[in-house]
Amino acid sequence: MAEISSNFLYAAFLLYLVATFLFGGSIKDKRGAEEKKQNKWAKLAISVTILGFAAQIGYFITRWIAAGHAPVSNLFEFTTFFGMMLVGAFILIYFLYKTPALGLFALPIALLIIAYASMFPTEISPLIPALQSDWLHIHVTTAAAGQSILAISFVAAIIYLVKFVDQTHSSKRTFWLEVIMFTLVSTIGFVIITSTFAALDYKANFDWIDKKGAADKQEYNLPALVGPHEGKLIEADRFEPLVSMPAIINAKKLNTVLWSIGAGLILYGLIRLIARKRVAALIKPIVKNVNLSLLDEISYRSVLIGFPIFTLGALVFAMIWAQVAWTRFWGWDPKEVWALITWLFYAAFLHLRMSKGWQGEKSAWLAVIGFAIMIFNLIFVNLVIAGLHSYA
């Protein structure tokens, strides 16, 4: 069953990839420019997307059966689910607005998220007592649904900014847009590097001294650019670290970050060298036909649809479950706080938009920041700030 499940996930991944190209085709096609009438390419693309979504639901169900609980209990499962809900949210918004351009950006982002998810351990893990509750399914799925709809507002905002920002001369805008592009490219870099060394089965073990002065062992799965505190490489034929980190810093995680940035820089550099343009300038022609005010509307609408669902899942249901499992509905655990921060941020977004008239570009930048906060909560808070939620 577990194997069938992962095959479903592969299938979904491939279908999303195909659908991305089909959406690309639909935009090239002149008729794709018109909002209301979908051309054949677009129809085919959305069909393939739905098929991929169905395959991923197949993955979800089969893994649920295999595990005996909803597969949302560790970072791999949750992140994959987030990717799936992102596609689901895209399908929903697509049928409201019929904009193929949205697919051309939403699907690659979903692909990136799913690829990123599979870099985490994928074994089926049992539920610790705190997670054995129906609220696991209710809270996590609702929160992820809300986040993914909010993420659509980011997708629309990216398209908005790519089209809106003037690429003829460099400015703060072009700089920050490139920062977003670079982050996306770095994620690709991370996936490539991690899966390459995983395929090579690279392992380097270190003896090191932790901050309490105790001796410990650590296994690296990437060549160590930075080694642990007073680290001694055990295997002779492995890459010797360039520098050793002080004990307070988690050298292994820093090493992964350095590799991702490095790979990102190389990839990004190559793109810039070949294209001789900013990445955003490179993709700008793709979106030349989209209607800016429609995108602005989609972005805003996604926040309006996503915000109540996010509140329900990430705060209301979360509090009810926390009261049952942890004796208190709120405990200032970092994940809780970051859910609150996300909520406060989107509340500010809505107030600025409704009462201060922050539309268009300003609203788009806000949508980007909102997404950054959610990703920070998903990745950084789980991996770096240890708390009650770091199950993975």
Partner: protein, 549 residues
Amino acid sequence: MKEVKCDCGHINPFGTKICGKCGMVLGSEKENKLIDMRYEGSARRSQTYKKTIVDKIWNFFSSVKVGVTLIVIALIASAVGTILPQEMYIPSTATPAEHYELEYGWFGKVYYELGFHNLYSSWWYLIIIGMLGISLLIASIDRFFPLYRSLKKQGITRHDGFMKRQRIYGVTKLDDHDINLDKVKAGLKRQRYHIREENGHILAEKNRFSRWGPYVNHIGLIIFLIGALLRSVPGMYIDKVVWLREGERKEIPGTNGEYYLKNNEFTLEVYDKGNKEDEQYSAAIDKTGTIAKTYQSDVTLYERKGDALPGEKVDLEEVKDYKIKVNEPLKHDHYSLYQVDYKLDELSTMAFNLINKKTEEKFGGVKIDLNNPQKRYELNKGYSVDLISYFPDFEFDDKGEPRTISKIPNNPAFIFKMHTPDKPEGEVSFVAIKETAEPLGENTYKMAFNGVETQDVTALTVRKDLTLWILFTGGIIFMVGVVQGSYWNHRRIWIKRKQDEIVMAGHTNKNWHGIKRDIKKAIESTSLSEPTDQLEEEKSSTKGEVLNG
């Protein structure tokens, strides 16, 4: 202050920008191409009175700019609190003052000095949240009542200037043919618009209730904050922990002796690869090692009968048996008992035999209950042992004297006095784990170790929280309000019939594509021309500029 009388005869409160009835622009906005439709141009206190100190405070809190600033400050402050773990998440044995510096260096020290280790209960954080609450309240009052009044009193026939300066606006010239508006009305009705007519002019409106969404959700939030505040009222909230050994019965703290709890058994179960039903987890178990499956306390709850007098034995009545697990607390009479911690294999009894050191002949054994030792143990005839001193958690202090660190039998030690027929005065012996001493000279007899028994201990949190229903009510009201305001839009379409033309205007508080779609559908089979979006037109006429901006 004087009221403003509009040309249409309607009397508006001072400060009104757009006449509540006909929509004529009264204020200084006359020059703008489009009118600002926020709050219907009604007279808000904060925009009208700006003199006294009360006005100034009112205006400060009713400002959205201030509200958003407060949100952003709360957001940043909250984020700062997650940089390092809060005090409640550091090990309970650590001293915060040392812990932060030790673990995180100078940064940890600064973090601690600034009080960020307890950020969420700091006075300044509470002030920010309090100010947010006040802002929610005042901003809502400032806007709701004028808005409610003007939407209630709004006229059907609107001033030409009002129509012309709506974002959605269109004129259909009639020339000499007339257009029957019945079809349009039917089209709008089909889309669930509520139609009102006056002298042939039409106002089609739907989902006005969505305008109240923000105020409803603000009320929910205020109730929630009040609930959170009430927690500090004595009696509303109890948070205690009780440790119970297996077989032990204790008064439940926080219940004023009303309830007692007995721990019958504590069970810790882990996932087992060998077990058929846990097979699918074997890869994960290999990787992480032991993974807990269940923490469970089988308990019996007792209730005190009648009033207990000090010193008198309490009369207890059994209420129920329950298996407390994580996620399955025992609930009774506002109290909840949660499984939160445990300790396995705590020493419960220790057994000794009194023997002759030379012959190793036994003269009887004692079994000491480590939590409740006796003073004297009778053995075979003529033999007995006095327990002179007992140290449950023994260590030597600075002067080399034995003492106990706690009442928990982690490392028990005893001073025995052994009475035997040949030594009726008794011999004194000090016995600890792997250690015996004879402080008063060579003994003939000794207490020989004869095994231990252990038991598990469970820790349960006792909780009473009478604020929960208030918080829950607040939460539900918030959700209702936020859904009401987000999933519906207030849309209005005005159709004004004039001598030789039909003027159409539309307004929505959000989702302009939606209202355009509605209008398009309604006028589909009529000869009315589709109104345009004046904002779009403006944009496209300055397109080059926008692109270069």
